[in-house]
Symmetry: none
Subunit: 413 residues, 2 copies
């Protein structure tokens, strides 16, 4: 009763892109409790694709494909599936109507190649694509063997999975029992330290606890299996409580929480507002806040003070401070935060200035050094933090924005 | 004469980590000109591993494995390879000497499990690991079938590849020529329209041309094969010229270019500067500019005017304009752009205001409506653009930032 993943695309074989889709689907299958023993990548080659498709029913109950659903001639997935199992391709009226509507909404003409995307093997059900023009299918060409197809664009694949495929897989009874899971999110603790702190829990079998590392953020997924959802969820409770007790404030949230959303919610509860002043992140902190729907009742905006002239002109940072201490310093980052409060009237302000690299570093101020300030109703604090230079500019910018939000979170909670 | 990649590790099947090794090896194989038609991932399971190993010689000349070479009980690769091809495991004295030396250098004791790592199938050659304790092997258990094994730790795998495997693969005469490729990047044209415009080129076999879609951006990769790098690169030239001629200004760059980098370079050539004024993107446009190393000689920063009070206070947008037209309107976005030029002294300014959703939409101003303005030395232009509401907030924000940069690019070029 297992599932396999088949990723289709010559760009994967050429190493142009990393197979993030396989990881994401694997994580979802694990969360659903569906066994998964094999992932395969093949190129946009009709014969090899057909051979792999025909071999799949001997090994698995469900085959999940990604890629090859686009409108171009190298998009072969649907046609190869029909050929592999000897079914004709027929136009799916709902698919065609949705493709036309999607293109019309974007003001784009319907190319003949788009109509090709509305053809599915006879008997296949539509796997709707709520965000793109490439629909997928759910089709059982053999008894006890079902194919689900997804496009390679990650956002479309994920939206289709969540809206249609996950409920279908759950209803199909592929899982051995019912699973419930909870993702706890941490900031300010390394993956290996967190793993050591939770070593005994990582050995557990029901619930299981598995660590995941990201950019600055670390996650622990707790997964429990039981006969019913309520029993599985009940198994999560004591383990989550134990992890939260051990981790303390390092645990900032669960499931879909982000640092930005948690900070905005803490401010909302206080009826307070927030502004930002960004130098080396250049808008990345603001973008994280703007990623949270409904941020506007708390977050006012701020100043991107990339050049020193903007630090002076819009944030009122004194030229003497810049001259005496340099732009990457505690006095300047404090003046930026206080300037942002003053300029916007916000209760709180976060400021960031640093050396994101690859150029611009010195012995005294190396690449990866970032000064962070939090200004609030009761004053302003700041600190210089070293993020290291080994992982590059984007890494330093992402960590600086997260660390800035986390410092405000710790002050507010 | 092709190669396959077999990645071994239950952590890949659980989605705990992304398979970056497969991408890296795929890129190396492409650069060496070695055909590569298949990547497989399996877990730490002896029976399934043996079955896959035994099937490989029918399909490929070289099998490259990653993972499963460590000292723990779930590291099964070497033993499974020996079992699959019926060879005994024998201790390899050089391997054992190197493991002992490596552990001694780290001040670590030699565990019994480390000695296991020195056993290779009889007849296998050592693939030395210059940075870790897990050596690999190069072994031909069948005529015209060779296995190369690597640990899963990316840094060790890469060091072993570069020191030993790449020279071995080159000397083995597996390459069918040398590959060269070029990625052309487009904005303002859909994947299917671009593909139709280039339909005849997409049918070519050397060079091949393949389309890729992203968030707003579309790409075409041209790949050529020849006896030498210079010949392969020469094959790219006429196809690139033809694509650029057909696409016109829709082609904004190649390879590692981004819209932000191209715009900054155009301004740098003119000795002019840029500022931004962002409402619904909340810093995303600035973050794209800050992603380009060395942006600071052109880009000054700007204002994140998320709240109307900031549009008035820092950008000088008149309250009457906001009242009469609303924040999402041509008069307001123009006032934002002009205000950003005035406040920062920049030659050019880009302004964005829109409804990113999911809330806040109305019949007159639906989710996905974004007004964009470009203000420069010769005046200010603006337009309302509909990005649609089907792909969500992040998509609208990404497209708005890209579209804004593209409008300035078209004015400058």
């Amino acid at each position: 009763m297992s599932a396999e993943i088949l990723c289709i695309g010559t760009e994967l074989l050429l190493g142009n892109i990393t197979n993030g889709n396989a990881r994401w689907i694997a994580e979802q299958l694990a969360a659903l409790g569906i066994a998964h023993h094999r992932q395969l990548v093949v190129g946009d080659n009709r014969e090899r694709l057909i051979a792999e498709l025909q071999a799949a029913p001997q090994r698995c109950r469900v085959l999940i494909t990604t890629g090859g659903l686009g409108p171009t001639p190298d998009d072969l997935t649907t046609e190869a599936i029909a050929a592999a199992f000897g079914a004709p391709l027929v136009e799916h009226p709902q698919a065609w109507a949705e493709i036309q509507a999607r293109l019309a909404a974007r003001g784009r003409p319907c190319a003949a190649s788009n109509r090709r995307q509305a053809f599915l093997p006879e008997g296949a059900a539509l796997l709707p694509n709520p965000t793109g023009t490439a629909p997928g299918m759910i089709w059982s060409p053999r008894p006890d063997f079902t194919i689900l197809t997804f496009p390679g664009v990650p956002s479309e694949m994920r939206a289709m999975w969540e809206a249609t495929a996950a409920p279908w897989l759950q209803a199909a009874g592929l899982a051995e029992g019912v699973f419930a899971s909870r993702m706890l999110r941490f900031w300010g603790v390394g993956e290996s330290n967190l793993a050591e702190q939770m070593a005994d829990l990582l050995e557990g079998s029901n619930p299981t606890v598995a660590p995941y590392a990201g950019a600055g953020e670390v996650k622990l997924r707790i997964t429990a299996r039981a006969a019913s959802t309520s029993e599985a969820e009940a198994l999560l409770v004591p383990v989550e409580a134990e992890i939260r007790a051990r981790a303390g404030k390092a645990c900032f949230g669960a499931d879909a929480d982000t640092l930005a959303a948690v900070v905005l919610q803490l401010l909302r509860q206080r009826g307070q507002t927030l502004a930002v002043a960004e130098s080396c992140t250049g808008g990345g902190l603001g973008a994280a806040l703007a990623g949270v729907p409904g941020a506007s009742d708390v977050w006012l905006g701020g100043v991107i003070a990339y050049a020193n002239s903007v630090k002076q002109g819009l944030l009122g940072v004194p030229a003497e401070l810049l001259h005496a201490h340099g732009a990457v310093s505690d006095p300047v980052v404090k003046a930026m935060a206080e300037g942002a409060r003053r300029a916007t009237g916000a209760d709180w302000a976060l400021a960031i200035t640093g050396v994101a690299g690859p150029g611009g570093g010195s012995d005294a101020k190396p690449v990866g050094l970032v000064h962070l300030a939090v200004a609030g109703p009761d004053g302003c604090s700041s600190e210089g933090v070293h993020f290291g230079d080994s992982r590059g500019r984007a890494w330093i910018q992402t960590l600086a924005a997260g660390e800035s939000l986390n410092r405000l979170r710790l002050q507010l909670s």
